[in-house]
C-alpha cells in the first residue's frame, strides 16, 4: 500500500527517478501513482527527502 502525504510533498520528483516500475509520474504539482504497476518495494519511501511517503506491503 503506497501512501503519499500530499501536505508534505513538494513535487521534487525524487521518488519518480528511483521507481524501478515507472509507477510514479510527476505532474506539475502532483505525484501520480499507478497502483497496478507498483510492487510496494518501498524504494520511493527511502528516497523521499521529506518523509512524505509510506509504503506497507499488503
Amino acid at each position: 500500500m503506497f501512501r503519499l502525504n500530499e501536505n508534505r510533498c513538494m513535487y521534487c520528483g525524487s521518488c519518480v527517478g528511483v521507481c524501478p516500475q515507472l509507477a510514479l509520474v510527476l505532474d506539475e504539482v502532483k505525484i501520480r501513482h499507478d497502483a497496478k504497476r507498483c510492487i510496494e518495494c518501498g524504494i520511493c519511501m527511502r528516497a523521499c527527502p521529506l518523509s512524505a511517503i509510506t509504503v506497507k506491503k499488503e
Binding site: C12, V18, C19, D27, R46
Partner: protein
Amino acid sequence: MRTYDIAVVGAGPAGSSAARVAAEAGAKVILIERKKEIGNPVRCGEGIGKHWLDEIGLKVPPRAICAELNGAILFGPNMKSIKIKTDETKGYVLDRNVFDRELAIDAARVGAEILVKAQVVDIEGNTLKVAHMGEKNEIKASVIIAADGGESVIARKVGINSTATLYDTDFGVEYEMANVECTDLIEIYFGRSVAPRGYVWVFPKGKDVANVGVGIGGLEQPNAISYLEKFIKGHPDRFKDAQPVAVKAGVIPVGAPLETFVKGNVMVVGTAAHQVDPIHGGGICLAIDAGLMAGKVAAKCINEKKVSESSLKEYEKIWRSKRESKHMKRLALRKAVEKLDDDDFNVIFSSLDENDLDLLLKGNYAPVVQKVLLRRPQLLKILSPLSQYGAGELIKAFKDW
C-alpha cells in the same frame, strides 16, 4: 499535430541551452516545460563555480546573481575548519528562478518556441503526446532531446536504463533562510552524523540570507529533512533568529553517467543523463555543457539531413571524450570519501590546515597524506582503491568545484 526539427523536453539549464544553440543553427525547435513557470520551484543549492564560465562560455545574467563567493570553509564533525581560497572556489550563488528563465528567454530570442505547463505524457517514435494546459496535443519532431531531470521518464520509455539506484543517488532538502549571517565563503559541513555520504551546505544569498541544505546518500536513514532539522537545532547560535522563506527538495544522481545517452532519435542530457558531479552533486554547468553539445549535434544532423542514432551519437562521443574520465575519477573519490566515519573526518580536520590544503591542491600531496596517515593509519584502507589512478590525476580531478 505540429511538426518540428527538434523537440526539447524540460526547460532547465540543459534543455534551454540545447534549444538555444539548435535554434541558432537554424533548426525549428520547440522547448516543452512541464511546470507553469520556468525555474520554479527551485530544486538546487544554487552555487556555481566561476571557473566554469570560461570553460562553457556562459555569461551569467547579472540579474541572476545573488552573491559573489571568494572561497569555501569546510568543517569536520568536531567543528574544526579549513578555509580554501583558490580560483576554483570562486563563484556565485544564483537565483535559479531568474537564471533558468533567462536561459529560456535566450532560447526564445533566437527563435525557439516554448510551451509551459505542458506535460509529456508519452513518446511513440517521433511523436510526443503532450498535455498542454489540459488539452492533448501531438508534437512530431525528428529529434527529441530529453532534458527532463532526475525524474526523467523519457529515457526509460525508449529503453535506456536510467533508473537511479538508491546507492548512487543523493537526496537533498534545503531551506532558504533569513537572519543567517553570511560572509563571502560557502560553508560545507562533513560527517556521517551530520550528513551521511553527503554534506550540509550554507550558501550565502545575501548578507543575511542563505540556502541551508543537506544532501544524504539514498541508502541512509532517516530522510534528508531529519538531518537538516538536526543540523539547524544543533547550531543554535548561528540559527537562533533564522526563519525559512522557502523550502526546496530534490534528487541528485551521483553515480556514473548513463550507459548510453542516445537511442533512436532521442538524446538524453543533464541530470536526466546523470551528468552530475559525483562529489558535490552540482550539475548546472555540466548540464549546460551537455545541452550545448547535444543541441549543436542535433542541429547539424538536421541541417545535413542525416538524422540517425549513429549520427546523433556524435554528441555522446564528444561528451565522453571531454568529461567521462574526470567523472569516473571523481566517482572513485566519492566512493572513498563516503567510507569515512566521524573519527576519520575529525582526524583529517585536526591534522590539516590551509597550507596543507594548498600543498595538496598544488599537487604536492605526499607530506599531507603522510601527516594524516601517521595519525590515522586505518585510512590507508580507504585510500588504497584510489591507487589505480595517479595521485596527480586525482588531485587535478578533485580540484575543480
